[in-house]
Each structure stands twice: as C-alpha cells, then as structure tokens.
C-alpha cells in the first residue's frame, strides 16, 4: 500500500516535470525541469531494482546533460528562434502525442504480469562470465558486441561533433576557454572535488565486477569531474589535434577489438575462455573507462573553436 503510494507519487512527479519541460515558452525553465526529471528517473530505476541503470542515469542525467543543455542555452541566447509551423501544428502534436502515448499505455497494461525474461539464463551462465555482476556479464561478455559497437558509436558521434567546427576553429581547443577568479569559490571547488571524484569514479569501475557499477558508470563520473575542472578554469581542454588525445580515444575500442580477435584462437570472435575471462574483462574495463570518459568530456565541450582575441 505505502510502496504503491510511493511509486505513484514518483510517477506523477515525473510526468509533471516532463509536462513542464515540454510546455510553456521559457526555455531556461524547461531545462531546469529536465534536470529535476533526470534526478527522479534515477529514483524510479532504484524502485525497479535496476541499480546499474540508476548509477548511469545519476551521472548522465543529473550531471552531464545539465552541463550540455545549460551551456547550449548560454551560447544560443535569443538566436534560437522558432521555426515557422503550419497552422494547427499544436493540435496535430497534441493528437499524435496523446494517440501514440495511449496506444503504448494500452500495450503495457495488457502485458502478462509475469514475463519469462532472461534472468535465469544469465544467472545460470554467470560463473562462466568471469564476473559476479550479471549486468557487467551481459555488457562485456554475453553481449560484448553491443558494447564494442557502442564504444565505436561514441567515437563516430565525436567525429560528427568535430566536423561542424568552423574553418578557423579546426585544430584549436574544444569549446569555450573558461576562466574564473583566482582563489575564488569556483576555483577552490574545482581543485577540491576532483580528488574525491577520481576515487569515487575508480571505485565504481572496480565495484562493477561484483556489484552495481562498471566502465560506463565510472567513466561518466570521471568525465563529469574533468568537466568541472575545465569549467573552473583550472585546466584547458587539449587541442583536438594532440596526438596522445587521439591515441587515448581509440584505445578503448582498440583494446576491446584486440581482445575480441584473440578470442578467435580460443574458438570464436569475442569469446573469452573461462580461465582468462576475469582478467580480460578487467583489462577491457580499465581502458574502456578512460576512453569513454575522454570521449564524453569532448562531446560535452563541443567542436573546437578559435579562442577570442
């Protein structure tokens, strides 16, 4: 009874936040509602026992997305004008949104209350995967090709972001060059937090082999902390043509691919024999964390641009 009351309250607040984010004219208000929405979504994930997802959502939804959207808002200002729409566009949007929402709702409530799922199969094979956390086992072993392709997708997205750099911006540092008052609140905070953030990020990667955590969650935390030091003006983002940067970016997918190819000797692509599964996964996780963190930082900072004179 109380549990249901809690769940329903969370869902009502989630829907209110989403509604407030899509209605009204004030873009800033919509962004703030979206940040709160990301927070509530991680609470929702905890209620359906998906701690791994909640971790990723907490780091991305409450951390990186807010920085990305607020930064975009700050740079766009009044330049973001409305496109010209046909008459009755609101009505069409309303009908389509309500119609598709209702259809999905109808489908969800009609689902049988017990789904077969794949939990039993995953748990039965968990020992062979080399790790104790079923989610990590799926991510890096059972469905490793998903994760391998995803790490490559991240790189493609980064190439996409860099490719919209202006002619004069290429080869410069990504995003704006930030500055802050020397010794001020922002700078002190930016000096203090990364020390703890590094420990927490590493801890989450390490925890991922036995409990909730892993490369994506830890990498996102590290990325958020790195962005804070850049926002505080303590560190300048490296120039996009820096050689070590390029190497570090391809290192994660590269090592993953390499280990996957080594699997060919043991039988098939991406197959880890049980004896080496644990060290192989840990090695992949470490380099993947670094690559993911770096890629996310660069994605959030945006294309390289010329420093203002």
């Amino acid at each position: 009874m109380i549990a249901s009351g809690f769940d329903i309250t969370v869902c009502v607040l989630l829907c209110l936040c989403a509604l407030a984010a899509v209605t009204g004219r004030d873009t800033f208000r919509a962004i703030v509602f979206f940040i709160v929405y990301g927070l509530l979504i991680s609470v929702a994930w905890l209620r359906i026992d998906a701690i791994d997802v909640a971790l990723a959502e907490a780091a991305i939804g409450a951390g990186l997305t807010g920085v990305l959207l607020l930064g975009a808002f700050g740079q766009m200002g009044s330049a973001d004008t409305m496109a010209r729409e046909p008459r009755g566009a609101v009505l069409i949007a309303l009908v389509a949104g309500a119609g598709i929402g209702a259809a999905v709702l109808f489908a969800v409530q009609g689902l049988p209350p017990e789904g077969a799922g794949l939990t039993a199969e995953v748990l039965a094979q968990l020992e062979a995967s080399g790790v104790g956390n079923p989610v990590t086992a799926v991510l890096l072993n059972f469905r490793g090709y998903d994760t391998l392709l995803e790490s490559i997708v991240l790189l493609v997205a980064l190439i996409g972001v860099w490719s919209v750099a202006s002619e004069t911006g290429w080869g410069e540092r990504p995003g704006i060059v930030h500055h802050a008052r020397a010794g001020g609140t922002l700078q002190s905070f930016g000096r203090f937090l990364p020390a703890i953030g590094l420990v927490i990020g590493a801890y989450i990667v390490w925890a991922g082999s036995s409990g909730p955590g892993g490369a994506f969650q830890g990498g996102t935390v590290l990325a958020a902390v790195a962005i804070l030091t850049i926002l505080a003006g303590l560190v300048d983002a490296p120039r996009v043509t820096t050689r070590w940067l390029r190497w570090a970016l391809v290192m994660g997918p590269g090592v993953f691919l390499g280990v996957a190819l080594l699997g060919l000797f043991g039988g098939a692509f991406l197959v880890f024999p049980q004896a080496v599964a644990y060290p192989a996964i840990v090695a992949i996780e470490i380099v993947l964390t670094a690559s993911i963190a770096l890629t996310l930082v660069l994605l959030v900072l945006g294309p390289p641009r010329e420093a203002p004179q």
């Binding site: 200002g77 609140t185 922002l186 905070f189 203090f192 937090l193 703890i196």
Partner: protein, 102 residues
C-alpha cells in the same frame, strides 16, 4: 527496538527540516532570503536522515559512505549557494546599469 525508535525520530526530524526548507523557498519574499532559508534547512535535513540511517547501516563501510554523502552534499550546497547568490547579484546590477553586453 530502541535503535529503530531513534532512527524513526531522526528521519522524521530530517523530513521536518526538508519541509521547513521548502516552506522557506515558497514563502520568503526575495531571491537572497530564499537562498538563506534553503541551504541551512536542507543540509540539516539530510544530516538527520543520514544519521538515522547510519544506525541501521549494518557495516561500518555503509555508515562511512552515508557520512561521505552528507559531507559532499554540504560542500556542494555551500558552493552553489555562493555562486548562485553572486550570479543573481551580478545580473541584477547588470540589469540596473542597462548595459547589456550579450
């Protein structure tokens, strides 16, 4: 049993501070006084809840994590309060001067 009772009292006290903070946020007249009400109330609120739960945490590791969460939240609250207050002050002055640089 006694431990449970203490936890109940502490968490309820924490909730009361959160409620007080929200009330201040809703009722106080201007930006800076609202900020003042909020940062004091919500940190005490989280502190009492963390204290109450630390009694139930079982292992010392969990209790330490709880205290670390509280410490980090306090530092974040102090920093944001300072930055947002200053930002509000600066942008109000900028508005008064009528010199809009952006």
């Amino acid at each position: 049993m006694i431990l449970d009772a203490i936890t109940m009292v502490l968490t309820l006290g924490g909730l009361a501070f959160f409620a007080a903070g929200t009330l201040g946020l809703l009722r106080f007249p201007d930006t800076h006084s609202r900020l003042h009400a909020l940062t004091k109330a919500d940190n005490l609120g989280l502190g009492l809840i963390v204290l109450g739960l630390a009694l139930q945490a079982g292992t010392p590791g969990n209790a330490i994590k709880l205290v670390l969460i509280w410490a980090l939240a306090m530092i974040a609250a102090g920093t944001t309060a300072q930055l947002i207050a200053r930002s509000a002050l600066v942008s109000n002055l900028r508005k008064d001067d009528g010199d809009r640089t952006r």
